[in-house]
């Protein structure tokens, strides 16, 4: 059988091709260990701030104490002027400033609402958020103390009837973060980036493998396409099992999907990746160029997938373009299925698109190889010279 002989020769070529094996097997394993390291602490804690205390009273010192005792903020020291504090900020010693104005305690007790100023460095959003949040919480901690003092000051009047009650908040917002209760980076970034890594590595591997093949007019196109798909599926399926099974548990990422749903979807996704990789391998002509192209596209691609910057905010033409890359549907559907516990019915549109892309890219790879091998030689050269250097 012609197909089996092609499969055998491609398999031999794959085993001998160290670059492809490195990219497809060692690469994902290396990234698996390397990529999560910055996020291993999951959340940001103890950001340093300076306090400018112009009031210097018991209440202002209490505020400093509460701020320091919150997990998000750490008081690095006191500054005497805004200028000095700003200097510390620019040196990177602190990231935020708490300014307590003169008369803070008096105004608070006398009910003439004083204003605190929080200044935080928003060049780093996570640091900014945690400082503002920490300071806000510690200000809230002061409220009971102020209330008691006011009761003493105003005596009977304050305790009388509903007046005392009014100091309480009438609306209490109870926020429940769903799917990622710690609001951490591991569930947010890793769950999606792992899918991106797998996709990119497999496409690079197939690109290198396809580019290092010597295409001749007698190349059996269909056998080549399908034998590559089978060979890379043998690499891909264990990698998926490793990343989504062992990897997700290892890093503590949620996986809510039932195993049947997950594999049904993943097989469609893998089919689509393999078809895309095949096509990619047919159009690049030097192995290293495959890596260059994928390397350059990875960073911008991550921002177009909808997990960092929401799909609602991405302009329609760009969104349409990204939908031609299997990873778009893969990431979005797997996040919904695995992290957010959606059922298969609701991610079915993504699944359908992946299958369609798989068929499309298989046809396109057929066309590409056909043009490359059987087309009129002189015009073919002009066309492919573009990629041949």
């Amino acid at each position: 059988m012609k197909f089996f002989s092609v499969l055998k020769s491609e398999a031999l070529r794959l085993i001998k091709n160290i670059s492809v094996l490195t990219v497809c097997i060692l690469g994902p394993l290396a990234y698996f260990l390397l990529y999560p390291t910055p996020y291993e602490n999951d959340v940001v804690r103890s950001q340093k701030i300076a306090i400018i205390d112009e009031d210097n009273t018991k209440l202002s010192r209490d505020l400093a104490f509460f701020a320091n005792s919150s997990s998000e903020v750490q008081v690095k020291g006191y500054a005497t002027s805004l200028r000095e504090a700003q200097h510390l900020l620019e040196k990177g010693d602190i990231f935020g400033i708490l300014y307590i104005p003169k008369g803070f305690e008096k105004d608070a007790y006398l009910q003439s609402n004083p204003t605190l100023a929080f200044l935080a460095n928003s060049s780093y959003f996570l640091i900014y958020g945690s400082i503002v949040n920490g300071l806000y919480q510690s200000t809230q901690e002061l409220n009971p103390q102020i209330k008691i003092k006011q009761q003493i000051l105003y005596g009977d009047y304050a305790l009388k009837g509903g007046n005392h009650m009014i100091q309480r908040d009438l609306l209490l917002l109870h926020s429940s973060p769903l799917f990622n209760p710690s609001l951490g980076y591991i569930n947010y970034a890793l769950a999606a980036v792992f899918v991106v890594i797998l996709h990119q590595m497999l496409v690079v591997g197939m690109g290198i493998f396809g580019a290092s093949y010597n295409y001749t007019p007698t190349t059996p196109i269909l056998s080549i396409i399908f034998s590559r798909m089978i060979l890379f599926a043998l690499i891909c399926v264990p990698l998926f099992a490793f990343y989504f099974g062992f990897g997700f548990s290892y890093y503590g990422i949620h996986h809510h999907a039932s195993i049947q749903d997950f594999w049904l979807f993943s097989l469609g996704f893998i089919f689509s990746i393999l078809a895309f990789g095949n096509f990619f391998g047919c159009i690049v002509s030097k192995p290293y160029q495959a890596t260059v192209i994928i390397l350059l596209s990875s960073l911008p691609l991550i921002f177009l997938l909808g997990f960092i910057w929401p799909l609602e905010a991405i302009p329609a033409p760009i969104k349409t373009f990204v939908q031609f890359i299997p990873i778009f549907h893969g990431v979005n559907a797997l996040l919904r299925l695995n992290e957010m516990g959606a059922d298969f019915q609701s991610i079915f549109p993504y699944f359908k698109h992946l299958l369609a892309l798989g068929v499309l890219y298989t046809l396109l790879s057929y066309l590409a190889i056909y043009l490359r091998t059987r087309w009129d030689f002189s015009s073919k050269q002009a066309f492919f010279r573009t990629f041949s250097r």
């Binding site: 935080a120 900014y128 609306l171 109870h174």
Partner: protein, 375 residues
Amino acid sequence: MVKEIKRDLLSLLKSPFSLFTLLIPAPIIAVILYFTFGSGTLHKMPIGIINQDQTLTSQDIIFSLNASPSLRIINEYGSLEDAKEDLRNAKIFALIVLPYGLQSNSKKGVPTSIPLYYNAQFLLVAKTLQSKIMQIIATNNVKLKLAKNLVENKTFIGALSKSAPIMQQITALYNPDSSYSQFLLTAVFPCSLVILVCASLLNALVRDPRSAMEEKVGIGEMLSLLGAKVFNNTLFYMGWWFLMMLFFTYIMDLPMRGQWWILSLGALILILSYNAITLFIFSIAKESTRAISFISVYSAPSFAFAGITFPTNSMNTFALFWSALLPISYYLQLYIQQANYGGSASVGLELCFSMLPFMLFGLVGIVIFTLRGCK
């Protein structure tokens, strides 16, 4: 050397892939990401609501939620069960429940808790939505308290101060609008630029049989050859860097408070460092496919390690170590120090010079090149 520079430029013209890498990706990445992030703030993120109260107070809260530019109520649900699927599907990013008795409780002075369920998987949307909703509820809270206090206090100021004991004035330094495009693009563009530097130098080395170590040449020729390639590549990318800075300053209107010469010096050292690292990697790998694999492992995750999104002070030891091995982390610190803070020249120069040790890779690379590629 001049002869080699000319020869390299001629070989560049004959190599479409090198030209492609040099000219096409940079503007494409810039344009796509610029339009993707737009103004850098989130608009009209879809949320859902369950209004069990159906009174004037709850209508008022819904009205103020809808009036916020960041939110848009796309659906009112009858029960949690109905809303669950849309939350799981990210059709809505948050769900607010206005419970029974909201209005009557607030008139009586009894606190009511308002549950907010939000999708924290999309962290960026989650944080924005949560803080916006918190602000809106807090404002409504003060409004309700004020109404109640006015009944007893009779004066507006007195009633207001009782309703909000301590006021907070929050200032976002250096990025006053909290714009994501300023936050992310100032980091993503340089990270892409250095990947391009590596890729282009690799192309340059591969397209000449002498630097690809396929032909043996004399030491002098090898040195001037490598010098010419690094010189050309550095010049091109200083040009791109300058265009990028113009893009930041004039098209995105970002601040540039520091000294241009310090930042340019930093960029020059940054680009030279990545040239040096590429030389080193290629001299060891000897072959293009292997070299680019090493370059990918080294440079592809640099955005995560650079400490802009997830700050370095919260990373573990290994990540800190890896971050210190990337020239781009120093450059981004320098950029923030100069462009955002307008900081002192001495600190800026210190950051520039902390990238200098990476040049040693270049020296080692050249030595290996001469050992391997010379007669």
